[in-house]
Symmetry: C2
Subunit: 167 residues, 2 copies
Amino acid sequence: MGGEAAAQGRRILVAVDEGDESVQALRWCLGTFAAAARGDTVILLYVRPAPPTYSVLDASGYLFSEEVTAAIDRYSREVADAVVEKAQKLCTLYGKEEGEGDHEMKVEVKVAVGDARTVICHMADKLGADLLVMGSHGYGFFKRALLGSVSDYCLKNASCPVLIVKS
Amino acid sequence: MGGEAAAQGRRILVAVDEGDESVQALRWCLGTFAAAARGDTVILLYVRPAPPTYSVLDASGYLFSEEVTAAIDRYSREVADAVVEKAQKLCTLYGKEEGEGDHEMKVEVKVAVGDARTVICHMADKLGADLLVMGSHGYGFFKRALLGSVSDYCLKNASCPVLIVKS
């Protein structure tokens, strides 16, 4: 497995989100692991939550109108764009810092919708990742207490090795 | 952090034990991560349990004599030697397979005594590891159920990024 991956260049899936830990994971991956000269591909994956598909009552009993749900969805897309743009800039920056000469880091971007935990594991499998890199969190404190962390889930369920970077 | 590590060669701590998962973790590390040409150092760490320092009653009420505790300790040392020797052979083998030419992978061996969980985290810190690589287990089923897995502990407590390889 290892030898083949090394010869073809490795496919490194980096799960990015809004948090600092994911930025740090990407920075570590680019600075210490991924090598453009070796033909590696860095795949940036951002998973945004599914948009609300039906009107729901909020705490005060009001119905969310379609405009509100559309606005939430639009906001979620804007966040995705911002996160991905920042991550791509980091990839460009580190490619230059490494002094790789003519080699340029191959970067792919994927934005998926759904539960981050299951989507990341599914994509790692589907995209043939040799390694999954992520920060150690990925949910806020309360959601993490309820669901367990995204990284814990991926450690148990991803089909490839998982690298966890902490802040 | 990443840039410096890349320039100097990375220090990769691999926790090895008797299990297949640790062999697979080392193989993955050598085949996909560590690069002799880049000046990387692979540090093999085996942690063996502390020898019994006083006589204890076994289940049937007999005292372990000093000879028995000495024999247990001797056996533990033999296991350590066997694991480390196997790991070193893998390092030599993969160095050749990679066709690194004149570069030879720098390999250091450390055998420590104590609780694997705390010793691995302590050594990662003390040895200035850029990355800790390990299998996803590291205890048998019952001990893991009681203590949690070694890898879970290290993920939470190690001061460097942790890469978990599953079988």
